[in-house]
Structure formats: C-alpha cells, structure tokens
C-alpha cells in the first residue's frame, strides 16, 4: 500500500502539470483547474484504477468529463461571477518560461483557437495522446481530429510568426 502510494505520488508529480494544463482548457484559473484534476483523479482512482494500460489517457478523459459536468451544473450567474473574479486575480501562466520565445504569446495564441482545436492541440502535444484516442475523447472521426490539429498548427504559425522567427 505504501509502495502503491509512492508510485502514484511520483506519477502525479510527473504528469500533474500536463493534467492541469489540459484542465485549464475549461477552467478560468489554475486553482479551478487543480480542483478539476483532483476530482477527476479521484473518479479514476475509485472506478478505473484496476483497468490495464497507461493511466494518463483515462485520467485525461476523466478530466474532460468532470469539466463538462461542472460547466453544466453551474448556472450562468455563477459562471459570470466566477469568471470575473478569476480573471481579476489569476495571473498564472499555462507554460513555464522558454529560453527561445515568449510562452505568454503562445498561450494567447492557443486561447484564441476554437475550443475543439485547442483541445486536440493540448492532448496531442502535451497529453501525449495519439489521434485515435483523441478522436474517441471528442467523439469524432479520427480524420476530424487530425484536421483540427492541422488547423491549430496553421493558426499558431500565423499568429506567432514574430515569436518563432527568433526561435
């Protein structure tokens, strides 16, 4: 049991930043995203922990479901208030600093993407998911997931020409 806890602690320490990044796709602040990750991981732990395979994909899927459930359960007023407060106080960034270019610009460019494209980009690049599992999560054909990824890359290239020129 102790060894099991240590293994999961190590797993969370390694994969936690990826999970929080993915959760930020729906959350307005880092603390919201961490709450989503916590709830999603508890769901995974209690219901799916014994399933075979690498847990990352299942935890990411659990995050998606928790985030969508939360969005449905909050009424508009609460969301508006939360958004206002979160925007006012949350200055945390999505990415660590990069030596070659501004990750703040990258974050802005990613935030400007349509939500489905943004999600594919996050899952593919930082969630290490293949297109088949991304398509399953989004409940779309694999071709659609690939297209969304390509559109996202093209949009990023357009928006980040100056940032990448020096990279």
């Amino acid at each position: 049991m102790e060894a099991d806890q240590q293994w999961w602690h190590s797993w969370l320490s390694t994969n936690g930043p990826k999970l929080v990044l993915y959760a930020r796709n729906w959350a307005r602040s880092r603390s919201d995203a961490e709450d989503i990750v916590q709830e999603a991981f508890v769901r995974y732990w209690t219901r799916q922990r014994d399933l075979p395979g690498e847990p990352l994909g299942l935890v990411l899927l659990s995050i998606r479901r928790v985030a969508i459930d939360r969005a449905r359960s909050e009424d508009r007023r609460t969301m508006r208030e939360t958004r206002y407060v979160a925007d006012a106080i949350d200055q945390s960034r999505w990415f660590a600093c990069h030596p070659a270019f501004s990750t703040a610009e990258l974050e802005s460019a990613i935030l400007a993407l349509p939500a489905p494209q943004r999600e594919v980009l996050l899952l593919r690049t930082w969630g290490e998911q293949d297109f088949k599992s991304i398509a399953e999560k989004q409940d779309v054909p694999v071709k659609t997931a690939v297209s969304r990824y390509r559109y996202a890359l093209a949009a990023l290239k357009d928006r980040l020409q100056s940032a990448f020129r020096h990279a």
Binding site: Q5, W8, H9, L12, S13, G16, P17, K18, L19, V20, L21, R30, S31, E34, V37, Q38, F41, V42, W45, T46, R47, S92, R93, W94, F95, A96, H98, A100, T103, L106, L121, T125, W126, R150, L153, L156, K157, F164, A167
Partner: protein
Amino acid sequence: MPDESLERLLASVQPASMSAGLPDRILQACTDAAKRRRRAPRLLRWVALPAAMAAGVTVAWTVGQKEAARPLPKHTSSAGTPVVVVKQVLAERPVGLLLLADGRCLHVSERKVMVRTETSSAEPNGPILLQQTGLRELLVTSSPFL
C-alpha cells in the same frame, strides 16, 4: 516553418508547474473516498454473503450499481445450484437492500439478513415491504457489525 519544426518547438515548451501540495492533496482525497466506499462492500462481503449462502443463495459477486456491468465470475455451487449474482445495490448503507439478478431481495441490516424468496415487485429506491411470509431471517454471527 514546417509543421514538424513547429511540433518539435511546441513539445519543448513545458507546462507550468502545479501547486507543490497537489499530489498529496489528491492522494488524500483518494484515501478519503476509498474509506467512504469501503463500508458497503465490507457489509456485503461479511454480512450479506454468508447469510445468503446459508439461505441457499449463492452470491458470486457484489458490486455497486455502476460496476454491475463487469464480467461476473461463472460458478456453480458445490451442490450444483446456479449462482445468483447481485444485480443492483439499492442502498449503500449499513441497512441496505440488494436486488438479486433473479428478482429476489436481500434485506441487509447490521444484525440480520432477510431473503425474500419470491419475486420482488419492489421498485428501486422505493420502500420495500418484506413480508414475513416467504422470508427467512437469519442472524449472522460472523458479522463485524455485531
């Protein structure tokens, strides 16, 4: 810039670090959740199963509602009677009701388990009237709740 270069560049960007205490917080939440869930299975394993078996009902597996779709072990009892599986846990409480796959009910309390031997017409989550007729009431001496 080719897509491959952009992909490599993006992959070199690390997500921001999370709060330092998050792994501990998550694992503590998991432990708390496990404690909350443990009571019902223990009740089923130590109270419902021996009582059901003593009443001539072989229960192969007891699960929560959402886990009921799992493949169930196929057994027959030593007497050759078919196994009855628990289909649904109606209430995960010390006093609970188990609806068996064949329609019968197990009414589980901390001190006794009653098996309704005729087909139940009870509705899930509704009050179930367990008539004395057709019931076998058993004291479970091995129950940790006694």
